[in-house]
Symmetry: C2
Subunit: 248 residues, 2 copies
């Protein structure tokens, strides 16, 4: 049975304590040579033997899965500081493609696993990242399962905004290195619907389009409202209330 492969293990979470974590995690990679990939280049293919674990130093990757008839799903976007290929499985379950110019390092899966087995500091770190990975996947399942196009885009933009800010981007401005088709395949929509929905949010005064790969957030509250999620702040709330509502 072809089973799991972890594609994304986020390295930075936007607080000052992340620096220590980052160096710990990257300790495995830092002796490896830098490698490069051009936009559109595929770092590894779905189905290939999973020989390496990668650490993204610069640039952005998209994680793709394909159906037999050519339909494409993007299960995640990766940015500098993320790792990809962490798994005990022997084949990659997805492809990793460079969105823009990318630099990365790699270690063999074997040495990564040895490091993991022998390093008590590393273990909880990796395990914790994997938990974040599962949480992200579940958020995405919620998004795909029952959100409208407008809610999906708003949720996506909100996440990107938080991610950008965690990485030291300008407050209120979202960088979108990926194309509209990438966004569409990530949100389970078509390119046309993404475009129309961007226009709609823009005409509502919630965002403002800045060129092809930039969006300015004019009303964060408006975005959060459209996203239809529990989080109502820039910071997630731990005191989220429970309601046991049911339809009908």
């Amino acid at each position: 049975m072809l089973t799991s492969n972890l594609h994304m293990v986020r390295d930075v979470r936007g607080d000052t304590s992340a620096a220590a974590e980052l160096s710990d995690f990257n300790g495995i990679f830092c002796r490896q040579p830098l490698e490069h990939a051009q936009p559109g280049q595929i770092v590894f293919f779905e189905g290939d033997p999973a020989k390496h674990v990668f650490s993204l130093v610069e640039g952005n990757l998209r994680i793709c899965r394909l159906l037999s008839d050519g339909r494409r799903v993007i299960t995640g976007f990766l940015r500098s500081g993320d790792a990809v290929g962490v798994s005990f499985k022997n084949r990659y379950l997805y492809s990793a493609e460079a969105i823009d110019e990318v630099t990365f390092r790699r270690v063999t899966k074997r040495s990564f696993e040895e490091e993991l087995a022998t390093s008590p500091q590393l273990r909880p770190l990796v395990f914790s990242r994997v938990c974040d990975e599962v949480a992200a996947a579940q958020d995405q399942m919620v998004l795909l399962s029952c959100k409208s196009a407008e809610e999906r885009l708003a949720s996506f933009l909100l996440r990107q905004l938080q991610s950008d800010e965690a990485h030291g981007g300008l407050r209120g401005v979202i960088a979108l290195p990926m194309t509209r088709l990438d966004i569409a395949d990530y949100l389970g929509l078509t390119i046309e619907t993404v475009s129309r929905t961007v226009t709609k949010l823009s005409s509502k005064g919630i965002i403002s389009v800045c060129g092809r790969h930039g969006i300015k957030v004019l009303s964060r509250a408006g975005l959060a409202h459209q996203a239809a999620e529990y989080e109502d702040d820039d910071v997630g709330n731990n005191g989220r209330t429970m309601m046991a509502q049911r339809r009908h």
Copy 2:
């Protein structure tokens, strides 16, 4: 930040070697007393402090997440042998509800984590299960992202069939302890669409409905064809071919 929680760590994978794994994994739980839950009872709530890890002994659970307006998403179904609540996070990210009569055991998260830290046999086991969890989540993202109602239901039935067979069920018969509403919330459809699609598959001669909670598979190949996935056998293929098709 409220982040990941692993809900499903499948314990049995249908081969004879699974028995050893199972006893290893359940070694943590086997000294704990048995607990019970009635149909509809909630084992723990989304947002509650995550104090325990659970091991399902008998019966079925549904894993639910709710949106603020009451929309419900089921991110997974659990059966005997599965564990739930494995995570380093301090709050549950989802609710776990009994579908039928359920018996389970629990250990504190603290003791589970201590066991995990000190047991070199257990670690790769848990880590491997987590990988399966992520793989399942990604499969579900593919399903929700771009499959039609018919493909979703076919994929779901195929998975249930494989799971049933792995657990020693009758060949070709699928047990569906959950309601149609559960299936709908799991597949991102409405209850009416699920019902209509079941009827459609039935009238095509691919399945045959056996009462409320049973479905007989008349044509496994037909199901697999409708599911629109790579796997074309009852066993997944490791030699899956890669194609780099793109739309347009």
